[in-house]
């Protein structure tokens, strides 16, 4: 995996610490704690983290051979089953690590942002597990359409704070959590949900998520005697992506593909400030957002665009600075898959392998369907999250399209009820953020 020390805030030209001065002392304190506890295992921090990941989280997760997909694509397909981690997505790796670190640092309170709610639920679980008070900032639009995850957070004992500014989604939730942190920074740790934000967050979150590739690499060698030709992961902010790639970075024979959300189109509407996708690595330009220099979806003035994807966990106008750097270095190849292909892949994995994936995760499988002749003889795909919470939105989005693979839901007609009658909002999103934030 990448070798770099805790005090280097940059990945090439990317990264850095573009935050208000009021936060800088806390960021220096966090950088010091990251060095001591995470990198040097002071007071046995990493030992406790690993033990809790095993006992509370259920690690290691399996690397499973996918029989049907392997036959379909005539290549060996291995699934890294992060959907089997406690909570149903990779998010717990980071949330548990950061809440535990906050405890070691003597912080008294946790705050976090969430978009779809998956990082929020993981943080709420970790905070309950470690007995820390926790507040989750969530856009009011997302609260309205992600009710199950709001229930989960509240049932775990966290406060959910509505963010009413702007469009009320993830971008606004991150901005508002940074504002809250600037107010309460002396006793509060901000558990950021992806490899974004000011240094040291991108490196620290990567290190907590790197357990995915640490296991997958060993498991691949154990099962096949060698390394895969290709590793695929979906990419929003990029935490599951970097977690899945980290221990393969130096294996230059392994191709790494970051699969972004192509949304409905890669074109942007500059006038309206809307990008109907979140393919930041593929189409974004360099800029500064939420504490880091990275690739962004922005207009020519530098105002941030509203992104879109059928999967809200990928729906973010920025991306982790390390991924932006690895793309520029040609170590990671950014690709993208549109909403339609992701939905088809959602149904295919459900029907062929008995695994209902998060819609984020489905993007990676959509790429495999379209490009399976380019991935070599063996491929590892990260199943970043399970799709249980996506069912309503997946069915609703499927019903708007003419997909041959879609299951027949006419059973609801015979009982006089539309399968999507309970969904709300005209801009639907899923609720399990398998990737992204």
């Amino acid at each position: 995996m990448s070798t770099d020390d805790a005090h280097d805030p940059k990945f090439g030209e990317y990264g850095g610490q573009y935050v208000p001065e009021a936060l800088m002392p806390a960021i220096e304190e966090l950088t010091d704690a990251y060095q001591r506890y995470v990198l040097e295992n002071e007071d046995g921090f990493m030992d406790e983290f690993r033990e809790r990941l095993a006992d509370f989280g259920g690690r290691p997760t399996p690397l499973q051979y996918a029989d049907q997909l392997s036959a379909r694509y005539d290549t060996d397909v291995y699934l890294k089953r992060e959907d089997l981690l406690h909570g149903g997505a990779h998010k717990l790796n980071n949330a548990l690590g950061q809440v535990l670190l906050a405890k070691y640092m003597g912080k008294e309170r946790i705050i976090a942002e969430t978009g779809a709610g998956q990082h929020g639920t993981a943080t709420a679980m970790a905070a309950a597990h470690l007995d820390m008070p926790c507040e989750i900032y969530m856009g009011e639009t997302d609260i309205a359409r992600q009710r199950p995850n709001v229930f989960r957070m509240k049932i775990n004992g966290s406060e959910v704070v509505p963010v009413t500014v702007g469009r009320g989604t993830l971008k606004e939730a991150i901005s508002e959590t940074m504002r809250e942190w600037a107010t309460t920074v002396e006793n509060t740790h901000y558990v950021i949900g992806s490899i974004v934000g000011p240094h040291p967050f991108p490196k620290m979150v990567r290190d907590f998520q790197a357990v995915i590739s640490e296991e997958a690499r060993e498991q691949a060698i154990e099962k096949t005697g060698g390394l895969p030709d290709t590793v695929l992961a979906c990419a929003g902010g990029g935490s599951n992506t970097m977690g899945t790639f980290a221990h393969f970075i130096e294996d230059t024979g392994v191709d790494l593909y970051a699969v972004e959300a192509g949304g409905s189109s890669l074109q942007v509407d500059e006038e309206e400030g809307v990008a109907p996708n979140s393919a930041t690595l593929s189409t974004g330009d360099e800029g500064v957002l939420h504490g880091a220099r990275t690739k962004l979806l922005q207009d020519s003035d530098g105002q941030i665009m509203e992104s879109h994807s059928v999967s809200s966990g990928l729906d973010y106008a920025g991306v982790g600075p390390e991924l932006a750097h690895l793309v520029d270095e040609d170590r990671v190849t950014p690709v993208n898959v549109d909403d339609d292909a992701a939905l088809e892949a959602f149904h295919r994995l459900s029907q062929d392998e008995g695994i209902i994936p998060a819609l984020e995760t489905a993007h990676a499988f959509g790429y495999l369907e379209e490009h399976h002749d380019e991935v070599g003889d063996s491929v590892v795909i990260n199943v970043s999250g399970r799709g249980d919470k996506d069912l309503e939105i997946a069915i609703e989005e499927t019903s708007k399209r003419d997909l041959d693979i879609a299951p027949d839901m006419s059973i609801f007609d015979s009982v006089g009820r539309s399968p999507t009658s309970q969904s709300s909002g005209d801009e639907p999103r899923d609720s399990v953020g398998g990737g992204g934030l």
Binding site: P9, A22, M24, P25, S175, A182, T183, V185, V288, G302
Partner: protein, 276 residues
Amino acid sequence: MGLERAFADEPAFVPYLAAGDPNYEASLEYVEALARGGADAIELGLPFSEPIAEGKTIQNAIVRSLEAGMTPDRFFEFVEDLDVDVPLVCMTYYNLIYQYGGGEGPRPFVEKAAAVGIEGLVVPDLPGEEAGPLRTACDEFGLDLVFIVAPTTKGDRLERMLEQVSGYVYVQARLGVTGAREDVDDATEESLARLSDWDVPKAVGFGIKTGDHAERIVSAGADGVIVGSALVDIVAEGHENGDSTDTVADRLETKARELKDGALRGASERPQPERT
């Protein structure tokens, strides 16, 4: 020279408005009203879509301004159209400065700002660690780069910041984000005490709402007060009520005078002048 002259003779009143809030024409009138009311320098906000240091009042001002069509180029036109004779400071976020350069870094923005008469920059998401390229450009074109000292800025950080400061230091009166408050935080006096031997004007902002606040802060040793949200509130209220531009401008001028007078009272209450 530079922005320091705004603080030369008496405590300075430095108001903030988001340029173009609620529209270009009215905003010109409002800024000019503040100058008539006694402003010694004016901070003009160039709105950015993700203003992470701002409270709700200024967030909403930024939304109004952006919806009315404000852009960096329109902002520079706005500065040229303004008829005021006090120093102007641009307050914005780094991505707008950076993107204006089209790949050449912050220099083109600073060059243009200098050309239209901007004398200083405040960039809330640019701590000293990342300020090198902007500092270089500001030095080249003679602009001051104003840094914010937070209640959490102490020890080595404070020492390092002193080396980068020019114009004035923006003393953040309390933790958190911008917004008018009902009281003066004790952190203000503690921050001023930490800076007491700095030979650069100290302007306190974040939360100042009334002439009495201004009085107390200046009497505690500040060389000036920065007031944003309490003025933006007047713009917002006028906009919501459909009041005429003249009416709102008059209210702003009256409020400006209240704040300036408060600052002057504060200076007369000081035991002895801090600066010679």
